[in-house]
Amino acid sequence: MSCGKEHGKVRTEKGRYKLDGKFHHSEPNTPIFNENGKLMGVTNPRDMTYVHSYGGEAIFFESLGKGKIMASRCDNPNCESRGSVFMPFRIHCPDCLMKSTVMDITEKAKTTAKVHTFMITARTGAFNPLPKPVKFVNVEFDGVVTILMGYLAVGEPKMDMRVVPIFNTKSPTYTILDLFWVPEGTPEASLPEGYTFD
């Protein structure tokens, strides 16, 4: 953890969360005075941990660490969006609300992904783990009806540039940060530590 403090671990057992360890760290507040020594307020420091369920999206986040991108498709024959492939993954079809079919689009991503638009920013919010400047790319795939937001780990983004996915397979975080993008043709040696093409 960035603050160097021990944070608790969570598992589920029989459908319940089991928490083990320390989940928050208390720090005393401090007063805020103005230049004349008059009390204006107090600080309220806080450090806490959320416990969050991925539910039906767990398959997507689990697959990234195995070098796979799982998308979803509506297979309801009566749906006006039948056959639509969604990336970001949607647990249910947004039109008919039937459970989507999980499908592996890793190969499609490797062969057809390109940059729809992008942006580069040197300013980030607190808790940002990505090296700056952050290069966002919005990636489109053939046959997919939506456009995925991602992070370009190598090189400079350009619209319509072909990119390929790389995966944090060595020590997955099980977050969207396990999936980065690099320009097609990037040598393996240039990838960030822990990331691989497969």
Binding site: I32, N34, M40, G41, N44, H52, Y54, E57, F61, E80, S81, S84, F86, M87, P88, R90, P94, D95, H116, T117, F118, M119, I120, T121, A122, R123, T124, G125, A126, F127, N128, P129, L130, V134, F136, N138, V145, T146, I147, L148, M149, G150, Y151, M159, T175, I176, L177
Partner: protein, 474 residues
């Protein structure tokens, strides 16, 4: 949803007309350490009461239900902050509810208050909005704002909302702006205009005399956006009082008819699917047949270049009120200028200009109070309050501030509400020596757009002077 049923496109028909009776605002600032949020809300309500020669206690006697908008509980570290404000305003035990729709929170708060009067549940409602963005360090504030994006798919990427937004700016810049220096200049002119108008507003904390060159030389935030292209982060409160016709005329001689439409679109831009352009009353399908030829890439609608929510909100609002062409039928607008480029995008979404031609609203001089090319009044002045760039963006208050600002023009009281020397002093600000009354002469109708983030929620509020009400379209 990429197709609409007839039922979904129904033009809202309210059971009875609704009027804006009065409104008020606090001082806005980047930080206001000397006041608690409730003090700012009391300032806003007091101003609203005084505007119609009531005491706050007299005004409160009319209020039946209360709507409170503030975007982020996290910023104030107070869940159910609405209940705190409601108590401090002394409005218990009346019914109240909190409204949250990100950047559109102010507009949505009015939308709810409006429907409550229209339905007959209440004869008079309070819509109060505020934001407290000075109680966390700026980078933590940016993190909190980024939590309004998808927390699994977007927030981990930089914890910076601008990043999720600027990809659209980038696409618009490429497709419709064609990366032209002249387009970049049109963006800069908006920043100059709105900061300039902000100088005339005692409530505002973003007023500044700057030039196009200043904008073009300010630090890059996310190409093509520079620091001076971006809106403020603010603290403050604003309120509006809505009533049915009978009650409104009991309270004041000058209520304004108010109507509000709302739309939405995916929280993640990533989830947008291609669809046909829903048309506004002043558009035809044919005019967009060659959009992709004129602007390669522009035929993927709404793609990353349009705000479908703004289009839908104005579709409902224009048809409810009979607006055919906003430039002809309205006298001024307050738009959600979070960034100069999103301001231009919105001109198209709400039909001030067709898709692809938003820049001409600036280039023609129509959006200025005084057209810089002709010296004549601009056709449809925009953001005379200073907007989010030159006045404030205290999120929950913003959409209400815009409506109050438009109303001041329709009441012909803009000069009085912004020129008052005593008010400038009370806010600890100095009225500029070249202060100018920005009152739009003879203003009869105006519009305000309240907009959330990447376009997840948008409301379109239309104010009309009761002597100049258009006929609704059916």
């Amino acid at each position: 949803m990429i197709t609409f049923s007839e039922k979904q496109l129904k033009i809202p028909k309210m059971t009875r007309p609704v009027y804006l009776v009065t409104g008020g605002m606090s001082k806005f600032g980047r930080a206001i350490p000397e006041k608690r949020t409730e003090e700012l809300c009391i300032d806003a309500l007091t101003e609203a009461a005084e505007l119609i020669d009531h005491t706050p206690a007299q005004l409160k006697k009319y209020i039946h239900t209360c709507y409170y908008g503030h975007f982020a509980d996290h910023f104030g570290d107070q869940l159910l902050g609405e209940a705190v404000i409601h108590d401090r305003l002394g409005l218990d035990p009346l019914g109240n509810i909190g409204i949250k729709t990100g950047g559109a929170t102010g507009g949505s708060t009015l939308w709810e208050a409006y429907k409550t009067v229209a339905s007959g549940y209440s004869d008079c409602t309070l819509a109060m909005g505020w934001e407290r963005m000075d109680e966390v360090p700026t980078d933590e504030g940016n993190h909190l704002i980024s939590c309004a994006a998808d927390k699994d798919w977007e927030t981990p990427l930089g914890h910076m909302y601008t990043g999720y937004y600027a990809v659209m700016a980038q696409k618009y810049w490429k497709v419709f702006g064609k990366e032209e220096a002249s387009f970049r200049k049109a963006m800069a002119e908006i920043a100059v205009k709105n900061r300039g108008y902000g100088r005339m507003n005692p409530h505002a904390h973003g007023g500044k005399k700057i030039t196009v060159e200043d904008v073009l030389n300010s630090p890059t935030v996310a190409h093509p956006l520079r620091a001076l292209d971006c809106c403020l982060m603010s603290v403050g409160a604003a309120c509006g009082i809505l009533a049915d016709e009978k009650t409104a005329y009991e309270m004041t001689d000058n209520p304004l008819k108010i109507d509000i439409g709302a739309g939405s679109h995916t929280l993640r831009v990533a989830d947008r699917r291609k669809m046909e352009i829903p048309l506004l009353p002043n558009e035809t399908k044919e005019q967009y047949a060659d959009l992709g030829d004129r602007f390669p890439g522009g035929d993927r609608y709404p793609g990353f270049t349009g705000f479908l929510a703004a289009r839908m909100a104005s579709y409902y609002a224009y048809n409810m009120t009979g607006i055919h062409d906003p430039t002809e039928d309205l006298d001024l607008v307050e738009l959600h200028d979070a960034f100069t480029i999103s301001d231009i995008q919105t001109y198209e979404d709400i039909g001030i200009r067709p898709y692809g031609e938003g820049r001409t609203y600036v280039e023609s001089g129509d959006c200025f109070r005084t057209n810089p090319h002709t010296g004549e009044p601009g056709k449809l002045p925009a953001n005379l309050s200073g907007g989010l760039i030159g006045n404030m963006h205290a999120v929950g208050a913003t959409g209400i501030m815009q409506v109050v600002e438009v109303a001041h023009h329709l009441w012909n009281r803009w000069g009085e509400m912004h020129g008052n020397e005593e008010k400038w002093k009370r806010f600890g600000r100095e009225r500029p020596a070249d202060w100018k009354d920005l009152q739009v002469k003879g203003a009869k109708r105006g519009l305000a757009i309240s907009h959330a983030g990447v376009g997840s929620h948008v409301t379109c509020t239309i104010l009309q002077h009761p002597d100049h009400i258009l006929e609704r379209r059916d």
